[in-house]
Structures are given as C-alpha cells and as structure tokens.
C-alpha cells in the first residue's frame, strides 16, 4: 500500500514539475516573445504598470542570467507565491486575483461533481433494471453527455433566465451589491449560482448514468452474480453487490473525468460571466494578461492533482483488492 501511494505521489509530483516547466518554457521560447509584447502593449495602455511587470519579467525570464538559473529562480518565486502582477487588474498580484476567484469555481465544481456522480449512479442503476426507465433515461443521458457545456448553459440562461425570468444570467451576485455577510447577499449568491450549477450538473449527470447502467449490466453477467443466483440469492442482494462493485470503476472514472469537468466549469463560468477561474481565463485572454493566464493554469493543475490524490485515498478505502496489497501498482 505504501508502494501504491508512493507511486501515485511520484506521478503527481512529476506532473506538477512538468506543468511548471511547461509554464516556464512556453513564454520563454515562443517565437516573438509574447510576454515582451505584452509588456510593450501594457506600457502604452497603463504606463505605471510597466515597472513592476518588467521587474518580475527580468527576475524570472531575465536574459542576463544563464538558463538554469532562470529556471531555478522561477521555482523559487513560485514557492514564495509570486506569480507576477496582473495586467488586467493592475496592480493586484496574480496570486491574489486567483485566490479571490477560486471559491466561486469550487462552489460550482464541488456540488455539481458530487451530486451528479451520486444521482447519475442511482439513476443508472435503476435504469439497468427497469425497462421503461432504461428507454427514457438512457437516450436523455446520451444527449446530455454529448452536449457541449457552454451550449446547455446558453440554453438554460435563455430559457430559465431571459424568457422565464426566473434566474439572473450573469455575474456571481447582483451588481448593485457589495460582498458582505448578509442574507440578502447570500440569497443573491445562491440565485446567481443556480443556473451555472444546473448546467454543469446536467451534462455530467448523463455520463455517470450511462456509465453506471453499462457497468451494472456487465456486473450482473459476472460469475459471482451467476453463482449467487444459482444459490437462490434474491435479486436484491445480487443487485446490491453489482452496484457496489460498479461504483469502483465509476470512482476511477471520476478521476479520469476531472479534467473534463474542470474544463466544463471554465466555459460555463464564461457563459454566465461567473467570477471564477474561467472568467479570469477569458479576461486574461482578452487583455493579453499572460501572467494571470499562467497562474490560473498552475492553480488548475494543482487542484486536479489534489483531487486525484483524494480519489486515490477513497479508492483504497473502498476497494479491498488494493488494500490487501496483492494488487498495488499502476
């Protein structure tokens, strides 16, 4: 088991190194030096921004020091939490801008991922045993899982937001409010949160439902299910076993899907102008704010790695086969 976690952690550490290295390499070696371009542009639009930006740039990408020192320097700055200064929200440091946005993204992602996983598994398991549900829920699930996140978001915003007028379609809270701890504000947050949450939930739900339905059908064909049936075990018991066993690959599926789910959250935020990381990405792109873009990228990578590790731990807790140590690696 220690070997299992050791390997996993090694992979995640390596992935992090790769991500940081990519982050350092891309702006450094891209033809035309995009960061320098960005600085020139900034100096025109925002003259006072140029000094701190240039300082960071010289520090991390400066040409007068050897490459390996630049690379090392980048790591040092990273561990000091220095990701540079945002152009778009000058003079806020990139790290601060991101930390402000992260709660919004998490508030969208966590409930939509967990609830869609739970509900999708339940409905999928039901569909595997009721013909009518299979014939209705399955086509709907296929349509949902094939839907681009942003399109469902746009449709919901249009239908429930603009036509029906039930929910606001842009922002994280009402624009006439300031963030504060009041019921009115929390209510406004919840109102603005609902539609982006719903569109994320729906698309992810379809995938989980299909996955569970197919897995259960495979499990019910498994030898242990046949043996139990031959020994007169009631269908209820066999289905319970099949469901439990099918949850394991669904858990691995969750790890595999994280990247896609995060991507979905990013574009959904863009649709709803929701002030999370996705919104930052859009602003960074439109304002040529490369430091911000790279910072967001690093945060996403760290988040996905952490979530992966969390899922690994849960997996070991629920699957005896990994715990007994007979099957460890990969």
């Amino acid at each position: 088991m220690r070997r299992y976690f050791g390997r996993k952690l090694a992979i995640y550490a390596l992935t992090f190194v790769v991500a940081v290295t990519l982050n350092w390499l891309i702006p450094r070696f891209m033809p035309g030096d995009p960061v320098l371009r960005m600085l020139t542009r900034t100096s025109v639009s925002n003259p006072e921004a140029i000094a701190p930006m240039r300082a960071y740039y010289e520090n991390v990408f400066g040409l007068d020091v050897p490459l390996w020192k630049q690379y090392l320097k980048y790591w040092v700055e990273l561990f000091q939490g220095n990701l540079g200064v945002s152009v778009w929200l000058f003079p806020a440091p990139v790290a601060d801008v991101i930390v402000d946005a992260v709660p919004y993204t998490l508030a969208l992602l966590l409930p939509s991922i967990l609830l869609s996983w739970w509900a999708g598994n339940k409905v999928g398991a039901l569909a595997a045993r009721r013909k009518w549900l299979d014939n209705t829920a399955l086509p709907v699930s296929y349509a949902l899982t094939a839907t681009p996140y942003m399109w469902l978001g746009i449709l919901l915003a249009w239908g429930l937001g603009i036509v029906a007028g039930l929910f606001p379609v842009a922002g994280g809270y009402s624009f006439e409010m300031r963030p504060e701890w009041s019921w009115a504000f929390v209510g406004s947050l919840a109102q603005h949160w609902f539609l982006p949450f719903l569109s994320l939930f729906l698309v992810a739900f379809g995938g989980w439902a299909i996955g569970m339905r197919n897995l259960i059908i495979y499990e019910l064909e498994a030898d242990y299910a046949n043996y139990l049936a031959a020994l007169g075990a009631p269908r209820r018991l066999i289905r319970r076993y099949a469901f439990r066993n099918a949850l394991l690959p669904q858990l691995t599926g969750l790890a595999l899907q994280l990247g896609v789910l995060v991507a979905g959250a990013l574009v959904t935020e863009i649709v709803f102008a929701y002030p999370g990381l996705g919104h930052l990405i859009l602003q960074a792109i439109q304002n040529q704010d490369f430091f911000l873009l790279q910072g967001v990228f690093l945060f996403i990578v760290i988040g996905v790695l952490a979530a992966n590790f969390l899922i690994d731990i849960v997996y070991v807790l629920v699957d005896p086969r990994t715990r007994t140590g007979m099957q460890g690696a990969t």
Partner: protein, 317 residues
C-alpha cells in the same frame, strides 16, 4: 429414487433460430448415487447441468419434467426455483475461481446468502468451520477477501458453501478442468467424501474427462448431440461399452484405470452435427464406423442389460 428427468427439452435461443441443446433426455439418479455425465463439448451436458438449477436467459424450457424426491422442479420459473436452490439443488460452477464476490469478505458473503434464505449465520458457523476444516481450510478464511486465497482454496470454499445446506442434488460442472492433476484428484476425492458423509445426497458430475468420473462415479451417462447415447455403471461403460461413440471415446483413452492427466476427448474424426437443424435418425450416423441403413431412423434409448441403456440399433444384436 431422488432425481427423475423425463423427456427434458431445452433450447438455446439465437437470432438464427433455436438450438436444440437438450432434445429429449430421460434418466434417473438414485439416492447416494454419483453420476458422471460425459461427452464432447456442445453435446448438451452443461445445458443439462444448468437446466437442473438455473436456466440462463438465452435458455428456454421447451418440454419434459424434472422431479426431485417426487416434487416437481419448476425449472422454467426462475423465481419459483429459488425455493429449491441451495437447500435442495445446488451447484459447483465451472468458474469456481471467480464465483465469489471480490469485494466482500468470504464470511460476510456467506452471512448475506444465509440471511437471504432466512438462516442464522451465527447458528451455522460451527458447522461451517467444521466443514472448512474438513477440506483443510482454517476458520480465518472467512475474514479473507477472495483475492487473498489461492485458486484451490477458492474452489474448496465454493465446495463447502454450495453444500452447506446438505442438498439432495449437487451439480458439479467441470469442477476440475481449471486445476492441475494432483488438485483434480483431491477435489474428486472430496466430492466422494461429501457424499459419504451425507453432505450431499446425490451428485451429477458433468465433465469431459472420462478418467476422472471413472474414479468417482457410480454410473456414467454418455451424451451426444443433445441426446443420451449410453448409460451404465462406470465399470461397464469403461470395459464393455456398447455404443460405437462410447467405444471410440474409450478407445481414445490410452489405458483405462490408470492416471491420464488432462486427456481430452478429441480422438474421434469429424464433428458433431449442428443442433439448429439436427439430422433425422441417429445423430452419430455421419461419424459412425458401423452405420447402416436403419440408422436413418432414430434408435430408442433402451435397456439392453440390467442398468445398461443404449441408443443404437447395433447394440442389442
């Protein structure tokens, strides 16, 4: 008389029509009898074994009856059969290695199964551990997950679990095909011992391995293309077979009574007929060295000597 099968017909449904896997089979098994069912793959022997306990969803009961201790087994009714499964009829499947739920401790699995049948696990535990000890397994396997046991251990757990309720009939389906020779022998001996101790009243051992059933079975039944070819006490089948198919099967064995290892029944030229549209008359005709005109008619399965039945026109003469 324990088991009585009359004119049993079971078909496999496929998109291209029904396959008559079991086409009119009648026989009986006495209390305490171990009967070996042998034949090439596709002869219907596995279908027969499954029919007695659980039809899979492609199998269809077309006709015939099965009675156990005078009571009719509703083999076509999956739910109604539950009452008989485990308590009256039980199974050691071919896939014993993977028959246990991988994510459940063995003790929990047994407890779940017993609870589903309304039996107390705690009350059964002493008997369970005694039987586990009998097959050489310590009580702590109940705390193990299947993956922690070797193949042979899993096989023995299945053997004990399947017979825990002292069923009147046990169907053992190719139980030794996945094992090495020495383990095969041990399993075969355990089967006999379980019968002798009364854990199982009678047994149907389905296998392609004649030498194995010869060691443990009282009676051997030879099947061919969905029908019975010959049935007689083990000695008689091996030493004086009457059906040409049995003769070829036996002839395919190098030396009867010795240990043959994993000898497969592959020595007969030709292949059995397809059972979607089986030929008229004797189904072995095409491969039979003794075939003659009369074989165009189906030979009846008749008793030619005491306890010796054969379906062949040449056998009586």
């Amino acid at each position: 008389m324990t088991l009585q099968v009359s004119d049993l017909r079971v078909h496999y449904r496929t998109l291209r029509g029904d396959v008559r896997a079991l086409d009119g089979v009648s026989f009986s098994v006495a209390a305490g009898e171990i009967m070996g069912v042998v034949g090439e793959s596709g002869c219907g022997k596995s279908t027969l074994g499954k029919s007695l306990i659980r039809l899979d969803n492609r199998m269809k009961h077309v006709g015939g009856t099965v009675t156990l201790d005078g009571e009719n087994l509703p083999i076509a009714d999956d739910r109604a059969m539950d009452r008989f499964r485990f308590t009256s009829v039980s199974l050691i499947p071919q896939y014993a290695m993977s028959a246990l739920n991988p994510t459940r401790r063995i003790g929990r699995l047994v407890a779940d199964l017993l609870a589903a049948h309304g039996i107390s696990y705690a009350a059964t535990l002493p008997e369970l551990t005694r039987r586990l000890a009998l097959v050489g397994l310590p009580e702590r396997v109940l705390e193990n997950y299947p993956i922690e046991l070797s193949g042979g251990m899993k096989q023995r757990v299945v053997l004990v679990l399947s017979t825990l309720r002292d069923p009147a009939l046990l169907v053992a389906d190719e139980v030794t095909s996945a094992l090495d020779v020495s383990t095969q022998r041990a399993v075969a001996e355990t089967l006999v011992e379980f019968r002798d101790r009364g854990y199982v009243r009678s047994m149907l051992v389905v296998t392609h391995d004649i030498s194995l059933v010869y060691q443990i079975a009282d009676t051997i039944m030879v099947m061919y293309a969905g029908r019975l070819a010959e049935k007689a006490p083990s000695d008689v089948v091996v030493t004086e077979p009457l059906h040409p198919y049995t003769q070829l099967l036996i002839g395919a064995l190098p030396e009867v009574g010795a240990r043959f290892g994993d000898r497969r029944l592959t020595g007969i030229p030709g292949r059995p007929p397809g059972l979607r549209n089986p030929p008229q008359g004797c189904r072995f005709r095409a491969r039979c060295p003794l075939a003659f005109d009369k074989c165009a008619e189906q030979p009846p399965f008749v008793e030619v000597a005491e306890n010796h039945q054969v379906a062949c026109w040449k056998a009586g003469s």
